[in-house]
Amino acid sequence: MNKKIGVYICHCGGNISDYVDVEKVRQSVEKDEGVFLSKTTMFACADSNQQEMVDDIKAQDLDGIVVASCSPKLHLVTFRAVAERAGLNKYNYVHANIREQVSWAHSDNKPGATEKAIQIVKSAIAKARNAETLEPVKVESVKAVAVIGAGVAGMRAAIELAEAGSEVFLVEREFFVGGRVSQWDELCITPETGKELVTRLYDEVMKHKHVTLFTGAELSEQTGSVGNFSLKVKITPRHFKLQCAEGSLQKAIEVCPVEVPDEFNFNITTRKAIYHNYPSEYPQLPAIDMKNCTRCGECEKVCSSIDFSQKEEAINLKVGSILLATGFDPYEPKQGEFGYGEIDDVVTLPQFKRIVHYCKDKLTYKGKEVKNIAYIYCVGSRQVDGENKYCSRYCCTSNIHTAITVKKKYKNIHNFHFNRGIRTYGKAEVWYEESSRLGDIYLQSFEHDPPVVERREGQTFVKIKDLLTSNKELEVAADLVVLVTGMVPRKDNSIGSLLKIPKGRDKFFNEIHMKLRPVETVIDGVTIAGASQGPKNIMESMNSALAAATKSFSLVASGELALEPTVAKVDRAACTWCGKCAEACPFNAIDMVGGNGNSVAHVNSSVCKGCGMCLPVCPENALELIGLSDVDMENMIDALIPTA
């Protein structure tokens, strides 16, 4: 039994101490059995406090440690490492969660939160008193990572993982790689186009023999856990055998009678059922959209590469980690939102970028020349009454960059920016400056008084009470209104449900901690990157992709993972071998040993996963989990009951 326990109660800045009286908690536990020292600390995770804990353990010869702070998902590993640095076995450390499950959950009831925190810390101390010195269980980890999404973040992560030495399965739902960036022309800061960037990454991906790319592929099943995930990937055929002979693809497209809105161009153009989004797109093999194909057979007559006999396939993959880089969707304004869907001259920024792509010398839309352009910012972002409270980060910069491009590409363009405060942060500020220098007009309003778009006498007008001119009511006759739309999570985010990835208040995938563990999820072994996690520009997506790749690689690098030593153990004196535990074990980790009336159960600790399913089925109560014995559990339960 540990009798020299150190207890540290964290303020977490104020995240805990704003709602929990941490000094009262300390006083309430300082005289508990086994407690040798008790302290409060502003940030338990700070380097200085960690060093203080190391010094305390060494100087006072402490044999147990309790830190009452945030969720163990965040800092259990941190404080176990503190124990190890001080020469104490890390399983003598016990974590008490008084932030997520106390101060935040009960921020409406401070005395109640304090009382609950006291009992939780007492319970952790009770567990620490009985803590044992243990060694982790080592299991094999498959040295392969599945990267889901072959946009710029996914491809960058795949390259990094392959270079580090991992096998990589790059799984893309669409038939072509590049994601949203392939829809963009010249990018901001450097003049490189989105397509060029995608090509550069694709070339690098293809160079690595350890990267296998699947397109038209979707994850359909997942079992297993960190180190050993089994995935089933469903692959939709392209219905093309080989690269088409010169000219035959074009002929096949021409004869195809199907015409559907082209999603790549945000429905401002149409495409055929046989398609590729742009000529140099990768992989350079077209695809047939079978949802819209009528199977008329005209294309087969002119192109011998078309093969309708190809069937959907399912392949099984084994990986040690999964990296999600599934990107975002642009916000789709609601019918009538700033005239969208009701007034012809209203488009979104992604649509506008495609219009600019197709207009060579003169900017036209629906046959009409465009000179006066009104941009309305923060559409679908920073919503006061809507769901999207967040700023989408990229849109101010992207729009101003597009407005400058338009002004330089065409003659007589007048840009009017109806904004709520421009956020061209960091290096992008130079574009704001250039746009102002080029004569763009900026008009500003508060969120409760947005600009109004109206149509009268055959003309579209945008009206605003402009803050920058003392609330003067100003009006612009616009040839085109561009709604500067932000980022929203993918409409079809079923992969998140399949892998059970938590979503944040913004509905994007949620990391464990935005600063301390920014690419990990609560699902061990699953990391997130790019805009699947929240709005990001390309540079930020690349940063997160590299971070996620590094984290995923750390789980598969050595081919072995150290897991919790929480495995089952048998009390041989109590066991009478009825076999129920072996039946209950999903991993066949239990077998019979002995004989001649002395048979007992034996747990193979290298196979046991520590689930504990064998525990409650034993009629003799002869099974326990190491580190979670009956004594541990009953002590913890007893300590949760207030004595006064």
């Binding site: 990835i501 609560v522 209950a584 689930c611 009956d630 913890m636």
Partner: protein
Amino acid sequence: MNVGKVNNGPKILVFSTEKISDPAIDMAGLLKLHYPPTVYTIPVPCSSAIKPRWILHALEQGFDGVFIAADGTDCPYGESCTEKTGVIVGTTQQLMREKGIDPARLKMAAICSVCSEPFVKHVKSFTEYLSKPSN
């Protein structure tokens, strides 16, 4: 009913699961979805690992109710979890009857890793049930 210093409501012990339901309970805090501070959580690896004697011990020592935030079909250890946890609940409720304890003081619901709102709803309604004078 055990009466604490401040928290006078019925005390509920939640058995959460480390990988599935405990993250959901953490997220309830993150989202400031308030629930009574008389709800205490002890995480276990899997809801199929909960021994009936632990549940009985909690009820006999002063907890008014026990709530199993089960893995359900999301259990990382296998598909049999739902059925096994159900058996544990059934066995324990039988033992509770034998001891004269209302079996409704033990509840179970599947709480997935993002089921913060259902968790809060469950513990609030369980608190309400346990607060009724007849219970």
